[in-house]
Symmetry: C2
Subunit: 348 residues, 2 copies
């Protein structure tokens, strides 16, 4: 498998991304070629600095970068030689199988849409995020790519999320739920009610509606929602977790007694923080495109990049995109058959 | 002020609600009459058991109750003599100023809609929830009453939430934000983009869009969204907080060293748990109705009921509903003027 890494566009510069790539290659023998895409001079100066020598590495020059504040489509039009575009090009031209980028999410999404196109039968791509819980993890999608969803998009997310959870989280038969405001079938808005009707007809382990209360209780493996709701949920969870850790830090500093307690229990806090750390998951795949596309967090450090590369290898190893193409085609056929009106009997 | 408490319909029976009412009356001198609405026999047996004697208490009999599993509108039609209906009737008939209930939220909402009606100019009622953060609290609305919102509903929520935050959280000039997927003006879906345009024209401390990341960081005092998003956010936050506490408990029990640490730092955890406990806020008002309506959590215990009563007294004390009527009227006028096309000059 051959992976293109956009080393530009992350918050911490290309050195951190290159270091992450180095670490991933050390353990990941399935990768046969790793493209580092970005400013050639910067990459060539970073490689020896970090003692990164591996015959699988190739450097692809790109003189520009889509920044976090750029408007995605406009930036892609203006910056013809940007790293995310060049990375996508490698997949488009059959030189690489996957792209990883810590850059502007909208830019990655737009480049994937324009350069790779969608898997036949898939109407809209979606971002899937793996969210850790106490002793579990679930896939949430769409996490913010597709703001105005149609029911069929949610049905496709259900299929794609299920396949991804099987491949990467190794869940045998992932439980798929639609995020709604109650678990009963009749609860929800127009979008979720119709998506429920579609998902019921699919070959999925569909458990119906789930609500916010179910997310962190281990009841569900794939949570499907539109990109607006998914984005709000994801960021709310990140914000609350951070707030609780801040409260803990403050409260534990209040007295010498508590400080001693915190010292003794330090490993407990570290374990939980590590467990909930979004960097552990490494990356969020953009599902539904002709090529594996992995978005790493903008603030990714070495460990997150290395994890993103490993997850990408796992995604390729399980042929996630081929399975998506097959299952979406089957689902579309089934839904189409279900929707086709039975012809009225000919008059006698 | 005169308050009607629906003592039925909570998860823990009427005794707990009556005990909460007793505690509230002990400190709340502004209340001149407190109606306990529910099964007369149960109430009359609970009062002496709890040593609850107060000349302000009146018992109103209701033979039925809307349960948590009832379908709201159907239940109200079938159970003519249910406690929530009798409580609303007291307000409707001018005998009480406010209703508090720990019962079925949909039932309370339906009863308020049918019996009290909405404040003139308000299109839809909404549920406002006070959510605590590390060193702050914000009002989130709508938390689940109005699933399919129009932009004008969000604008009214902005106004009502701002007035409520001023009255009950004592924020002088509450910062109002629309919950979206990014802070820039152009980020959002059709609903939030149009609501943004409306809110900009209102006499509010409108700070524009906020995203999930902003919720627990103390950046915003009133968070406006449709009832679907609000419900998901609220329940997700509750679910995550509970999961983190479970992880803490488990991790702190792993070794004797950590157990000792936990013991020493015990008060820190308790402070945080108390701070994040939704019972602290006591109740979530249903805003926009002709009468103050306070929903207490179904699982409310004594403390939560007492807090709900105190918050209700505070809401009445600040004439929240009168202010809402005035400000919504002003806002509607302003928005209408803004939308009225300027007549073309008459041809010369």
């Amino acid at each position: 498998m051959r992976i293109a890494v956009d080393v530009m566009g992350g918050d911490h510069g290309c050195g951190v991304v290159i270091e992450g790539a180095k670490r991933a290659l050390q353990t990941e023998r399935r990768i046969t070629a790793l493209y580092l895409v970005g400013n050639r001079a910067e990459i060539h100066s970073a490689l020896p600095q970090r003692g990164f020598r591996d015959h699988r590495v190739r450097v692809i020059h790109a003189s520009e970068v889509v920044t976090m504040t750029d408007k995605p489509t406009a930036a892609l039009r203006r910056k013809k030689d940007c790293s995310i575009w060049r990375a996508m090009e490698l997949v488009h031209d059959g030189k690489a199988d996957a792209v990883i980028s810590p850059g502007n999410t909208g830019g990655i999404f737009a480049a994937a849409t324009l350069k790779l196109g969608r898997i036949p039968g898939v109407d809209r791509g979606g971002i899937a995020t793996v969210i850790p819980t106490a002793d579990h993890a679930f896939v949430l999608l769409d996490a913010g790519a597709n703001i105005e969803c149609k029911p069929i998009h949610l049905a496709h997310y259900a299929i794609m999320g299920s396949i991804y959870a099987r491949a990467v989280l190794h869940y045998e038969n992932p439980r798929v739920g639609i995020l709604s405001i109650g678990t009963e079938e009749g609860k929800g808005n127009e979008l979720t009610l119709e998506a429920y009707r579609l998902c019921k007809q699919l070959d999925l382990n569909f458990i119906g509606n789930v609500e916010g209360h179910d997310l962190f209780g281990g009841r569900v493996d794939v949570v499907v929602c539109d990109g607006f709701v998914g984005n709000v949920v994801l960021k709310t969870a990140e914000s609350l977790a951070a707030a609780i850790f801040t409260m803990l830090r403050n409260e534990l500093a209040v007295s010498p007694r508590r400080q001693l307690g915190a010292l003794l229990a330090h490993n407990a806090f570290r374990t939980i923080k590590r467990r909930l750390d979004p960097e552990g998951a490494g990356g969020a795949p953009l599902l539904g495109f002709n090529g594996v596309v992995m978005k790493a967090h903008g603030s990714s450090r070495e460990r997150a990049i290395a994890n993103a590369i490993r997850v990408t290898a796992e995604t390729l190893h399980h042929h996630v995109n081929q399975v998506i193409a097959e299952e979406v085609a089957k689902a579309n056929e089934r839904l189409q058959v279900a929707e086709t009106p039975v012809p009225a009997p000919a008059p006698a």
